[in-house]
Symmetry: C2
Subunit: 361 residues, 2 copies
């Protein structure tokens, strides 16, 4: 998903700053909310002072708007006449919790600014409900776009709620493909060794990233070759509190004593090589956000299936000169420059000596 700025008027930079603040609250809970979206909400009084903030709780718990209202009330703030700034259109749906649109209207919130529209047919309608109950509603401030012929020229930051938006639209988990290479494009030496292409800071970031995902996907080939644990570990090597499900796809058997099975119960072997089927299975288990850390063949399969939403490219400031030549298994294609597929650059992060470039489609 790529996003496009719209509906932002003269106060655009101030409005964006508030959305970025709300998005920070959302990032703090990313990885803990599925199947619900990671959303952040601010409440401001009429001077613009922040009187409440909240983010989505784990499934079954309160949504961001309700958390922000509770936060304000806990601090003795009067929420009547306040303005809510929220990264997703308030839901209008009674599930395990009541609709946020009702909670906001009942609390007397006067204005709601939201970043993205809710594409979920069951939950949408929050903006209409609020308007019908006398609340001023502004949004969506950003719209997803898929116009491949008009790529946005600005680098739009990555919002925490985007993975869920993709999942709600495509009815499958959002897929991030992790790639890593030297600057000359190699992923491993000719003898197959590939450890430590990137440095300590990049490796630490991979673990933080894993902790924010619902699942990590690799192929049986990676389990055979590298026997990875795929857990999210902190600097001292200890498992982080939040762990993604570890999914191995492919028809080959994996040994019972593979590292991925320790600690037990967090790994799943799907005897399937079609990414669409694998994603369907994960979607049915409530997974919204998966990270594919497979080798060139898994990478190729996901690209060929057209289900890659985001690419994270780790690059080491190194030359290898000869090695395993491609991050993606070779395709036997004749190409011309007209076949190039443009992605949208979203973020460039410096991780020690390495860089991480995040791109979306």
């Amino acid at each position: 998903m790529s996003v496009e700025l719209n509906h932002l008027g003269a106060s655009r930079s101030e409005e964006l700053r508030l959305f970025f603040h709300a998005d920070e609250l959302a990032w703090a809970v990313a990885g803990t909310t599925s199947p619900n979206p990671a959303v952040g909400c601010l409440l401001l009084d009429d001077t613009g002072r922040i009187i409440g903030q909240g983010a989505t709780q784990p499934a079954g718990g309160a949504h961001a708007e309700v958390m922000a209202l509770a936060d304000a009330q806990t601090h003795g703030e009067d929420v009547r006449g306040s303005r809510a700034v929220v990264t997703l259109e308030p839901c209008n749906h009674t599930g395990r919790t009541g609709p946020c649109s009702h909670a906001l209207a009942e609390a007397g919130v006067a204005r709601v600014d939201y970043l993205f529209a809710d594409p979920n047919p069951q939950a949408q309608g929050g903006a209409d409900y609020l308007r019908a109950h006398g609340v001023e509603v502004n949004g969506p401030a950003l719209s997803p776009t898929h116009k491949e012929d008009e790529p946005p020229t600005q680098w739009v930051p990555i919002f925490a709620v985007e993975t869920w938006l993709t999942s709600a639209v495509h009815l499958r988990p959002h897929v991030t493909l992790k790639l890593a290479s030297t600057i000359d494009g190699f992923i491993a030496a000719t003898d197959g060794t590939s450890q430590w292409i990137t440095g300590e800071a990049a490796r630490r970031y991979v673990h933080e990233d894993r902790a924010r995902r619902d699942a990590i996907v690799v192929g049986t080939g990676t389990v055979d070759a590298d026997n990875p644990r795929l857990t999210a570990r902190d600097e001292s090597g200890q498992p982080m509190p939040q762990q993604p499900l570890r999914v191995v796809m492919g028809r080959r058997s994996i040994p019972d004593d593979a590292a991925i099975h320790h600690p037990p119960g967090q790994a799943l072997h799907l005897r399937e090589h079609d990414p669409r089927v694998v994603l369907q299975e994960m979607h049915s288990r409530g997974m919204v956000d998966v990270l594919v850390e497979g080798g060139p063949h898994i990478t190729k399969a996901f690209l060929d299936a057209g289900v890659v939403d985001r690419i994270e490219l780790y690059q080491a400031p190194s030359l290898l000169r000869a090695g395993q030549p491609s991050m993606i298994a070779p395709v036997n294609l004749s190409t011309s420059m007209s076949d190039i597929r443009e992605l949208n650059p979203r973020q460039m992060r410096v991780l020690g000596r390495d860089t991480l470039w995040t791109l979306s489609r």
Copy 2:
């Protein structure tokens, strides 16, 4: 060349800020000073106010220190007791101009802070001369380092004088290798088309970059395949005032009507395929800073000869999936991860949708 911070005490960030300011002056003249270094100089009074600034003039003209003294005097400032901040040790050599060390001492400058030591045996000794004449001298603030086993962890900015320093130490021009690829590492489609991998902003930057070089080097193969002009052109396609010499290396003939010969007189065909010989010839013509824009074979030749000082990697946010596989002509090597060659990341620049990563050895 990689550089290492040293000798910077408690006032380090303030001192660095002054050196960066002086370096900005130097960058403004980069490409116009060869065979002399592009140096910048500030003069400050005892309150820290800048009273003069200057940068190296074209060969035969004044050096940065003399320009800064003249600038201060033009504005009626008293330079006695002032502090000079200069990006290279003041020269102690009478060439086409007098020694800067003498000019500073005679003007009554009380303190000189310099960034890099002068490695040129003919010109060095400026710091000693100044000390012997009662001037407080601090420097060098940075030292070039070649310790490959201990790569610096910080990203040190690129200083304008570095190309000249490398040239002075190795007695050949400093070599920057320009590479461009998609994120999956391709430089061209399978049909050989390669135009427009990167976007407008990156193409504009290439021209600005060329204008700061003494020469651009390509192989006869590139002339055959692309028939490039290799001029530095502005946004409207007009040649910039400062043009690099265009050097074609290789034993094959190039057609008289090749674009590189228009306008005439700025291209040189060296019938040679050894980068060291080509660089020697360019060094004898006073060239300090060359940009190699060749294809995979020229790239390989310069890397194999061990004469690549800096790499500029342009990357487009695009996937090609299949294409000409390597930025560097393949080498028939067996590699292990222990063969990896670590470079030093120096700068990451966003150019529209593309990125430019600059690395040095």
